[in-house]
């Protein structure tokens, strides 16, 4: 009898362990019908309008080098940080390299460093997507006599105090990619922004999908400001349209989960007329779900990975690819060098954020690059291409 009770206890423990499994919390309820849409708490009307407008503004800067261009910059003086003579140690606290976008970006950044002989040391600390590790990484960098500190924060709110501490150490701090809630960094580098990204995709679907059509929204994860902004913009546009958003699901950027979610929705709804995604790393998995179900692939929003672009061309899909260009990883190095030379930089360095449409997609397909290579890397003219990116 006791053996059996012990077994029941073990089974109970197993079950409890399964309840706290590595499956992340998907907080979203199934379906957010557009008729009673709630505005996302990340939605900011003024910023939204500004970003949508910036899409049409002509950038300042060298032609053909979007990573050096700026949109409506307000310059700040950096003369006090000038350190002539070269011999710079640049320090970089990286949130993670846990997705292909970041991996391509990081490779591009490393190659950019190689272009500048005045940088003699490039210290990189990888926080492995953990906030507490990144906080301690930044603290350790402030003690390393860096000429400049570059930070790509893991999350916005939690990393703000650490960034403020770094600023207080009198070393120029550059923040890029995701943002923080403080004005202390010398410059904050980012493309136009999440609202513009989300809007590109949502506007495309609004145009392509018939009124009353069912749209499935797929998101990677909650809580990251750039991603929340994308959904907030799309939500706003869908609310003002006649599209029926049948589901908003989190996929963790995982291909298997994306495929299951899409297949489930196809089964549940009978037909999906459009797919909006906040990032395209799993766009191919979503397309495959439709192919496996034997139905036509509906209009779909992807991103600039090679596997999606190739599939788009080969299968003649109706698609659009907003980009969050990986060439933005070149800009922090350029900005750091400008600051150390005492040149002016914009307080907020807004980079152009192109989208790839059916007219331009063929220019971006590169058959010999790996499937998860990002077309907007700005790396084709760099020495050694394509070696390090393969």
């Amino acid at each position: 009898m006791t053996k059996k009770w012990a077994l029941v206890a073990v089974a109970g423990t197993l079950a409890l362990a399964a309840c706290s499994s590595d499956l992340p919390e998907d907080s979203s309820p199934a379906g957010a019908p557009s008729s009673e849409s709630r505005k996302s708490e990340f939605f900011d009307q003024a910023e939204y309008d500004r970003q949508l407008r910036l899409r049409t503004v002509t950038p300042q800067g060298p032609e053909g080098k979007p990573w050096e261009q700026m949109l409506e910059p307000e310059m700040v003086d950096t003369a006090k940080f000038a350190k002539p003579g070269g011999n710079y140690r640049l320090c970089f606290s990286n949130a993670a390299v846990d997705n292909p976008w970041r991996q391509v970006g990081f490779k591009t950044m490393q190659q950019e460093v190689k272009l500048h002989p005045e940088i003699t040391d490039f210290v990189v600390l990888d926080a492995e997507a953990k906030d507490d590790k990144q906080i301690s990484d930044i603290q350790s960098l402030t003690g390393r006599s860096c000429s400049a500190i570059i930070i790509s924060p893991n999350t916005t709110a939690t990393l703000t105090p650490a960034v403020e501490q770094a600023c207080a150490s009198n070393v120029p701090v550059i923040v890029f990619d995701r943002g923080v809630n403080t004005e202390c960094p010398i410059t904050y580098i980012h493309p136009i922004g999440g609202f513009a990204f989300g809007a590109y995709g949502a506007e495309f679907l609004k145009e392509q999908v018939k009124p009353g059509g069912k749209v499935l929204a797929l998101r990677i994860l909650p809580g990251v400001d750039v991603l929340e902004q994308r959904w907030a913009a799309a939500n706003e546009i869908f609310a003002g349209s006649e599209l029926d958003v049948v589901g908003v699901e989190f996929t963790d950027g995982d291909a298997a989960k994306t495929k299951s979610v899409v297949s489930d929705y196809i089964q549940r709804e009978g037909q999906i007329d459009g797919v909006w995604m906040d990032a395209g790393a799993t766009a191919v998995a979503a397309v495959e779900a439709f192919q496996d179900a034997g139905v036509d692939v509906p209009p779909i929003v992807g991103e600039d990975q090679q596997d999606f672009l190739r599939l788009w061309v080969d299968e003649n899909l109706t698609a659009v690819a907003p980009t969050y260009p990986t060439y933005q990883w070149r800009t922090p190095i350029i900005a750091a060098l400008k600051i150390l030379k005492g040149e002016q930089v914009p307080k907020e360095w807004v980079l152009p954020q192109p989208q790839i449409t059916a007219d331009t997609v063929r220019d971006y397909v590169k058959e010999d690059m790996p499937p998860l290579h990002y077309a907007m890397c700005g790396c084709e003219d760099m020495p050694g291409y394509p070696g390090p990116w393969k």
């Binding site: 077994l7 029941v8 590595d22 390299v97 991996q103 298997a256 979610v261």
Partner: protein, 333 residues
Amino acid sequence: MTWRPRLADGTAPVLVVLLLLLVGLAIAGPAYDEPAGYLALLKRAAPLMILAIGQYFVIVSGGFDLSVGALVTAGVVIAARLIDGDESATPWVILLVLGFGLLVGLVNGLVTTKLLVPSFIVTLGMLLVLDGATFLWTDGAPRGALSAGFRTFGRGALDVPGLGELPWSVLILAAILVAAALFMRSGTGRTLVAVGDNDAVVRLSGGRVDRLRLLAFVLSGLLAAVAAILLGGFAGVSAQVGNGLEFRAITAVVLGGVLLGGGRGSVVAAAAGALSLEALFTLLNLLGVSGALESAVQGVIIIAAVAYAAHGGGLRHRLRWRPKRTPAQPAPS
């Protein structure tokens, strides 16, 4: 003497549950009005069913194998990195992945039997080792790509004249299931069950307990590698494909009436348990129940099934049809 197919102990309840779920699906979903819908369900469930068969061998012999989920992830990641889109690499990478599964099973089995560490702990440790090694190798984002040839098994189908398109995963599943059922009816298979029931007796009567346990772990690792090939083919490269699969497999086996701790249960029931689990989740999805409840449902099933197995024995006996038996009379002297 006519051969009558006999269902092993405890198989009937899970088959009834499966039948109810399939009927439920037919009612709830338009896709299940034709065989193609059920075939798609079988295709999706095939990797889990294969994992459940592997897990059955280990559980019925008295152990646990918690490493299969991490093994599946590792298999997919390794395959993607080594193939890197090159079609010609497919055959040897498939062999390598199967060999890797065999090796992991071998290590699990050897540590359990030779070092006498409980299998729960050994395989838990192996899960952590594989998880960590995978993360170390990929930094969290797997590289490379699986070739179309590799993905045929998980995604593709074979044109069978007369039956139409049968998915490869279903064919592989059928072959494995038949082989497993035949194996369990053989002498080695029966001894495996006996090991789970009372290994001291088996040892005293000359059976090689350690070798049988080792065999069970090796089979579990090998079948996990097969599941990795099918899952990698189905969904592509992913670093989370194996998350939670070991608990799903154990739930499936337990749902199939196999006793945790070993000694009773049939492999067909374990596979039916896996199919029931997949059918249940599909049904819940069709009814609009949130996907987040899947873990909770699994937990309830495990607890209920084990509690039933521990206490429901009396109920089973009372409900079983038995001809009246008179007490034995002593032979007239």
